[in-house]
Subunit: 312 residues, 2 copies
């Protein structure tokens, strides 16, 4: 038994006008709840220090950069790190990262129990588009404001378990979980900001959109025999809805905790990392069952190539 | 609109003593139902001409070979092909294939409307084991009796759509769907024989086992935006239970038809292949969103390699 009590810290909406300090005060309040619940690790959402700014078209890079952090921890987030260190609780959260070299990433960090950053992930699967698209019901300009992550899908040892991170749209891509599964991942932490409607139309009500999100995390968990903690930023931000549906999923793909609100809400579950072992040793014993000689398209081609040779 | 009326022909148990002719008579009765329901294509299960023989340990290769077909169609199956051709209905079914070179595969074929075989798939992800394992509650000797498929995951044009096949355990491996997704697949046909209990133990009741099966098909469908038809061989065979749970899943990952019995049962659904297009052009537009530079472990390593360099 390797039990980690995990807090999944869903966050309600953050408006454009809300300061970092006000947001960090909310995160610290959730952390306090988690400390009281004896959590070992608390996971916060994607880009959780600000509103989900990629919904806004901005031409001025200086304005764009106001949504980014040039350093973490910084003055605004230091209180969160201090509280976590004092309580010996590891944390993970997402933010917009502007590097010293001027590069922009959608990033998530992971700390140890001393609030030292031991892991950094940069979102690989950026959804959306680069230019304003009038036909969309709302903009989703992640491909404009970020470059794709350059760190792959790393896995770290922390709290006596193998841990990795994904961010939002990454959760729909089985390649992302598999890259970590092939490193023995036992816990995947991910946050998301997902609109309640599909900006490109389609036949998706809210229930179906949450189903897609949850199912993607469940199949990622089951097919790699790992825990998945998925936490939303939810509610109505600046007039735009984000769905909730935060969950903790066990290595059998079963939802064991689920958010009931679309505000700040803490899910707590005692997760035994040893539960990941059965699947890894039987049906998903990759060494015995995978057949990489037949997977070559997955890494040799990005888009569709039909059997008649035309590109999709 | 490119509508294909699909019949998913679940089959009840086939006992060791049942002849090929008796089984083909049952298949032909299901085909007749499908013809009456105006089906264009009928999908039968994995290894559907015999009992699921890999549950039995056999030392004598001559005995093993009695469960294999050296040619398809052959005398026993010809009536099925004749009926399908007369009605202009395409069919797909699974059987144990013994090639002229003496090779053994777990195979599925696909015909056009004239009952001409246009596609052949050989199961890649063989579950189970090679030698008798006393600690198992039942044997699952697929790795003993078959070699892994050597044809990859091909996709064919048939009935004005792109079609592929998977067999049983393949449905749990996202690499299998993705290989076909990268060829633009719009319909995946698969059959299975899945025991009602996990021979290696674990914490799985029947409900969870069916959930794993269905979820794997749903996520494969959603994440590649394709239809999936999954048909079981079900019921109690020679004292061993196989679960039912046959489904037709749409490209949104939603179950649109589901079996209600564990016997011979036909699911019918009018599947519009154009429904596959929305997902392929938006959230799963692979060309825009996949990042193959970060997927290299998927094809370069078979088993787990932990970040500390140890092998799993």
């Amino acid at each position: 038994m390797r039990e980690i009590v995990i807090g999944g810290a869903q966050m309600g909406p953050i408006q454009k006008a809300d300061s970092r300090e006000a947001v960090v005060a909310r995160m610290t309040a959730l952390l306090d709840q988690a400390i009281a619940a004896k959590c070992d690790l608390v996971v916060f959402p994607e880009l959780c220090l600000t509103t989900f700014f990629p919904r806004w078209m901005m031409e001025d890079q200086a304005e764009v950069d106001t949504w980014f952090e040039t350093q973490i921890p910084n003055a605004a987030t230091q209180p969160l790190f201090d509280r976590a260190a004092a309580a010996n609780v590891a944390i993970s959260f997402g933010f917009a990262e502007l590097t010293p070299e001027g590069r922009h990433f959608n990033t998530q960090i992971l700390t140890d129990r001393n609030a030292e950053i031991i892991g950094r992930y940069r979102k690989v699967h950026l959804p959306g588009h680069v230019e304003y698209e009038a036909e969309r019901s709302h903009q989703h300009l992640e491909k404009r404001y970020f470059e794709p992550g350059d760190l792959g899908f790393p896995v770290w040892r922390n709290l006596d378990a193998w841990m990795g991170m994904l961010i939002c749209n990454d959760r729909r891509w089985p390649e992302a979980y598999r890259e970590m599964g092939l490193q023995g991942v036992e816990l995947v932490m991910l946050g998301y900001n997902t609109p309640t409607t599909n900006g490109q139309g389609g036949n998706e009500d809210l229930e179906k959109r949450i189903f897609h999100s949850t199912m993607s995390m469940q199949s990622g968990a089951y097919q790699n025999s790992c825990w998945v903690v998925g936490v939303a930023k939810a509610g109505v931000e600046d007039g735009h809805g984000l769905f909730a549906g935060s969950v903790i999923v066990d290595p059998d793909g079963m939802v064991v905790e689920e958010a009931t609100t679309d505000g700040d809400e803490l899910l707590v579950h005692a997760c035994d990392m040893d539960k990941a072992l059965f699947g890894k040793r039987t049906i998903f014993d990759f060494k015995k069952h995978r057949r990489i000689e037949h997977y070559s398209r997955i890494t040799s081609q990005t888009g569709v190539i039909y059997p008649d040779g035309t590109a999709g």
